[in-house]
C-alpha cells in the first residue's frame, strides 16, 4: 500500500536515471545512512565494530570490486585474495618506504598496484573463458601468495614474512578507536560504492554487461573485448586492492599472506553470488550474510544456553552454512538482491497481486 510509485512521474531523463528512482527507496536509503552514521556509533560495542562491522564493510568493498568483474563483466575470478594481497602489501611498502605518506594515499596507491597486477592476470581472459578462466585465475592466487612469502623485499625484510602497520591516521585524525575505524571504513566504502554504481550504469558498465551476456554480439556493435575486459579487471582489482589495504591496515594491523588465501577468494565469490551478481547493493547483502552468518551460527548454541562441544559446534556451523547457501541458491539463484527486488515488486502489487 505504502510502497507505490503511483503519482511519481519523471519529467526528465535525469530524474528517471537516478540511482533510486522511487521516492520510498530514497527515504529508506537516507534512513539507513542515518542509522549507520548516527545510531550505530551511539550504541555499538567494541566487539560489534571489530568483529562484525569493520570486516563487513571492508569485505563489502572487496565484493563490490569482485562483482564488477564477475557480476558485470562475467569473468569469474578465483584470484581475488591475491589482488587484495597486492593492495595490502603495496600500500604497506608505500607506507614504510616513503616518510610521511598519508595513509589514504598509500591505500589508493596500493589499489593502483593491484590494478596493474589485475590487468596483467586479466590478459589471458582475452582468450580463455568461463570456468577455464576461473581456474586459471588461481594462478594469480598462488603466485601472489608465494611471492609475498618468498620475496623479502615486499615485507621490508621481515624475517617471518609478516608485516604490520601502526599509527594510522586519516586527514590528521588518528584511527585508533574502533568508532574512528568504523566511520573511516564506512566513508570509504560508501564513496566507492557510489563511484562503482556510476560506472556500472554508465556506458562502460553497459560494455561490461554486453561482453558478459554475449561477447560476439558485443563485438559486432563495436565494443572492443580487450578494452572492456581489461578495464573491468582494472577497476575491479583497484577496488579489491583498496579493500585489501584496508583489511591489512584497518582490520588486522599485522598480516601474512595467509590472510589473503584462496579461502578469502572463495569467500568473496560466495558474497557476490549469494548477494546477487551484477548488483552493487547485492554485494552488501552478500557480505553481511557471509560475515555474520558463521559468527552467529557459532554463537547460537551459547545464546540459547546449550552447551555443545567446540568441535561439534564448528562442524555444525559448517554444515548449516553449506546448507543455507544451497538453500538460498535454490530459493533465488540470482541472489539476495533479486529476492529483494522481487519482494519490492510484490509489495508494489500488494494487496491485489494480479
Amino acid at each position: 500500500m505504502f510502497y507505490r510509485e503511483n503519482g511519481q512521474f519523471k519529467t526528465s531523463y535525469r530524474a528517471d536515471q537516478q540511482i533510486f528512482p522511487i521516492r520510498q527507496d530514497r527515504i529508506a536509503i537516507l534512513l539507513m545512512l542515518g542509522f549507520a552514521f548516527l545510531v550505530i556509533p551511539a550504541f555499538a560495542s567494541e566487539y560489534l565494530y571489530r568483529a562484525i562491522l569493520i570486516p563487513f564493510l571492508i569485505l563489502s568493498l572487496a565484493a563490490i570490486g569482485l562483482n564488477i568483474l564477475v557480476g558485470y563483466c562475467g569473468q569469474i575470478s578465483l584470484g581475488t585474495g591475491a589482488f587484495m594481497a597486492v593492495g595490502a602489501y603495496a600500500a604497506y611498502n608505500f607506507q614504510v618506504r616513503i616518510d610521511g605518506m598519508p595513509m589514504l594515499l598509500a591505500m589508493l596507491l596500493g589499489g593502483a598496484c593491484a590494478t596493474a597486477v589485475g590487468v596483467l592476470f586479466g590478459i589471458p581472459s582475452l582468450r580463455i573463458k568461463g570456468l577455464y578462466l576461473a581456474v586459471a585465475t588461481l594462478a594469480a592466487q598462488f603466485f601472489v601468495d608465494w611471492a609475498f612469502l618468498r620475496v623479502a623485499w615486499f615485507t621490508n625484510n621481515s624475517s617471518s614474512g609478516s608485516v604490520n602497520v601502526s599509527n594510522l591516521s586519516f586527514l590528521g585524525i588518528p584511527l585508533d578507536t574502533p568508532v574512528a575505524k568504523y566511520l573511516f571504513c564506512l566513508d570509504v566504502v560508501l564513496v566507492f560504492a557510489l563511484l562503482a554504481k556510476n560506472l556500472v550504469r554508465g556506458h562502460i558498465g553497459r560494455e561490461w554487461m554486453a561482453i558478459r551476456d554475449m561477447d560476439v554480439a558485443a563485438a559486432v556493435i563495436g565494443i572492443r573485448p580487450v578494452y572492456a575486459k581489461l578495464s573491468a579487471f582494472a577497476v575491479s582489482s583497484f577496488i579489491v586492492g583498496v579493500a585489501g589495504a584496508m583489511w591489512g591496515f584497518v582490520h588486522l594491523g599485522s598480516w601474512e599472506p595467509a590472510a589473503f588465501s584462496i579461502d578469502r577468494s572463495f569467500q568473496l565469490l560466495f558474497m557476490v553470488i549469494i548477494g546477487g551478481l551484477g548488483s552493487i547493493m547485492g554485494s552488501f547483502f552478500g557480505a553481511a550474510f557471509i560475515v555474520i552468518l558463521p559468527i552467529m551460527l557459532n554463537q547460537l548454541p551459547a545464546l540459547f544456553g546449550v552447551q555443545i562441544d567446540t568441535a561439534l559446534a564448528s562442524h555444525l556451523e559448517s554444515m548449516i552454512f553449506g546448507a543455507l547457501i544451497v538453500f538460498f541458491l535454490i530459493v533465488e539463484p540470482h541472489g539476495i538482491a533479486r529476492l529483494w527486488s522481487t519482494a519490492k515488486e510484490k509489495l508494489r502489487l500488494w494487496p491485489f497481486p494480479h
Binding site: 609478516s162 562441544d309 567446540t310
Partner: protein, 424 residues
C-alpha cells in the same frame, strides 16, 4: 564436553581458550586444547587460585587468522575480562600482538610466536615462555654438534630445513643461517606449501643432495607426510630432527614402524606420566569431566596444553601475591605476574610438574624465562628421551633478539621500556 563453565559470579578468573578442533590442523590442535582445558578444570577441582575459581570458554579458530581475531574480540571482554590469550598459531599471534597492548591483555605463546618477542622491553605484552624457535633451532644444532663430536665437525656437513611455508616455518631460518656461518655447515631450506600433503619434489631434492641431517619445521599433516616421503625415498629417519611441534604422537602415529628412529625436540617436556597427569586422571577424568579420551593424558601435545595452562595460571597466582590473594586480577595485573614468574623446582614439584619441565623465571627484559630443550626419539610405539638438556646460546640469540626487536620498535615507533618503568 562442556565448553563454558561460565562465570555465574564475577568472582571468577576468566581464561579464553582459542582452539582448533577442526580443519587441517585439528589432529594436533585437539590434544593441546584438551590438555589446556583439563588443567583449568584441575585447578578448579583443587579449589582454584587461592580460592578464585577459573572460568573459561573455547573459541574455534580453525588456525585461521581472521577467525582468531574474531574470537579474541569476542572473548576479550567477556566474564569480567580476559586474563590472557594463547593463540596457538603464529599467524594469530602476529595479529594479536598489534591488538593486545591497546586492550592490556597479555599473550602467552609458550614455544611458538615471534622469537624477538622474548624482548619484554619492546614486546611488553608477549610472553614466549619456555622457548622460541630460535632456541629450538639453536638447541638442535648443538645436539648435532655433540653427536658429531664438536662444533668443528659440523664443517662441510649438509643440514637441510624442511619447513612449513608460513611465518611459523620461517622463524628458525635467521638463526640457522647465523649458525651455518659460524660453523661452516651447508644450510639449505626447502619450503612446503600448506597443508603439506604433497612433498614429493622436496624429497626428490633431498634424495639428490643427500643432506646429513634434516630439520623438520612442520605442523599437522605435513609432519607425517614428510616421514612417509622419507620412507618412500629411503632417507634414514634417525637423521631427521623435528621441532617440538613436529614431534608428537599424531605426527608419527600413522607412519608406525616407518617413523622409528625419528627424533624431535621436546619443549621442556616429552610424553609420559607425571604427578600432574595422575591428578588430572583422578580429579577430572574420574569425575567424568575429562575433555578428551583418557588415553590421551600424557601424550606430548596434551602435556604441552597442561603446561601452557599451568603457566597461565601461575602468572595469575604470582600476580595475586602482589595485588591481593583471593582476588580476581585484571589482564594488566596478570601481566605483572607473567613478567615476574619464579617457578623454581620446588614449586614445580608441588604442582606435579617435576620431571616434566625445568624451572622458569621471567623478568621485565626476559619474557621467555628459560631456554632449555632436549631431544626425544620415537621407538615405533612411544617417545623416549635421547639427549640431555641443552641450553641455547645466549651469545647468539640475545643480539638477534635485540636487533629484531629494535627494528620492530622503530617501525612501530615504540620506545624501549626503561628499568624504572618496569617496576610498575
Amino acid at each position: 564436553a562442556p565448553v563454558t563453565a561460565s562465570a555465574q559470579a564475577a568472582k571468577e578468573q576468566f581464561f579464553p581458550v582459542l582452539v582448533y578442533r577442526t580443519g587441517a590442523y585439528a589432529p594436533n590442535g585437539v590434544p593441546f586444547a584438551n590438555g589446556y582445558v583439563d588443567y583449568l578444570k584441575l585447578v578448579n577441582a583443587q579449589g582454584g587460585i587461592n580460592g578464585v575459581k577459573l572460568s573459561f570458554e573455547e573459541c574455534e579458530t580453525g588456525y585461521a587468522t581472521d577467525r582468531g581475531v574474531e574470537c579474541y574480540e569476542r572473548l576479550k571482554g567477556k566474564n569480567g575480562g580476559a586474563t590472557v590469550f594463547q593463540p596457538l598459531s603464529t599467524g594469530i599471534t602476529f595479529a594479536l600482538t598489534e591488538k593486545a597492548p591497546a586492550d592490556k591483555i597479555p599473550l602467552i605463546t609458550a614455544g611458538y610466536g615471534r622469537s624477538e618477542s622474548a624482548d619484554g622491553n619492546v614486546f611488553k605484552w608477549n610472553f614466549p615462555l619456555a622457548g622460541t624457535y630460535w632456541v629450538a633451532a639453536d638447541v638442535l644444532i648443538q645436539h648435532l654438534a655433540k653427536k658429531e663430536g664438536g662444533f668443528d665437525k659440523l664443517k662441510g656437513k649438509k643440514i637441510t630445513l624442511v619447513y612449513h611455508d608460513s611465518p611459523y616455518g620461517k622463524e628458525p631460518i635467521p638463526l640457522l643461517t647465523e649458525r651455518s656461518k659460524m660453523h661452516g655447515f651447508e644450510f639449505s631450506a626447502i619450503p612446503v606449501t600448506h597443508p603439506g600433503v604433497e612433498q614429493k619434489a622436496a624429497w626428490l631434492q633431498i634424495r639428490q643432495s643427500r643432506p646429513d641431517y634434516i630439520l623438520l619445521w612442520g605442523w599437522g599433516v605435513m609432519n607425517s607426510a614428510a616421514l612417509k616421503e622419507a620412507v618412500a625415498t629411503g632417507y634414514p629417519r634417525d637423521k631427521m630432527y623435528g621441532v617440538w611441534w613436529a614431534a608428537a604422537e599424531p605426527d608419527v602415529k600413522d607412519v608406525g614402524e616407518g617413523a622409528k628412529g625419528y627424533n624431535g625436540l621436546a619443549l621442556q617436556h616429552g610424553a609420559g606420566q607425571a604427578k600432574v597427569h595422575q591428578d588430572v586422571l583422578k580429579l577430572v577424568h574420574e569425575k567424568g569431566q575429562g575433555t578428551g579420551p583418557k588415553e590421551e593424558v600424557g601424550t606430548v601435545l596434551y602435556t604441552r596444553g597442561l603446561m601452557s595452562a599451568m603457566l597461565a595460571v601461575e602468572g595469575v597466582r604470582r600476580a595475586q601475591e602482589r595485588y591481593g590473594k583471593g582476588k580476581v586480577v585484571s589482564g594488566e595485573q596478570a601481566r605483572w605476574g607473567y613478567e615476574n614468574l619464579a617457578l623454581d623446582q620446588k614449586k614445580l614439584d608441588a604442582l606435579g610438574f617435576s620431571g616434566v619441565m625445568r624451572p622458569i623465571s621471567t623478568s621485565c627484559a626476559d619474557h621467555m624465562g628459560a631456554s632449555y630443550a632436549r631431544v626425544h626419539t620415537w621407538d615405533g610405539s612411544k617417545w623416549n628421551f635421547s639427549s640431555d638438556w641443552f641450553q641455547s646460546d645466549d651469545q647468539i640469540i640475545k643480539p638477534m633478539v635485540k636487533a629484531a626487536a629494535d627494528k620492530y620498535a622503530s617501525e612501530k615507533k615504540l620506545t624501549r621500556r626503561t628499568p624504572e618503568e618496569c617496576q610498575s
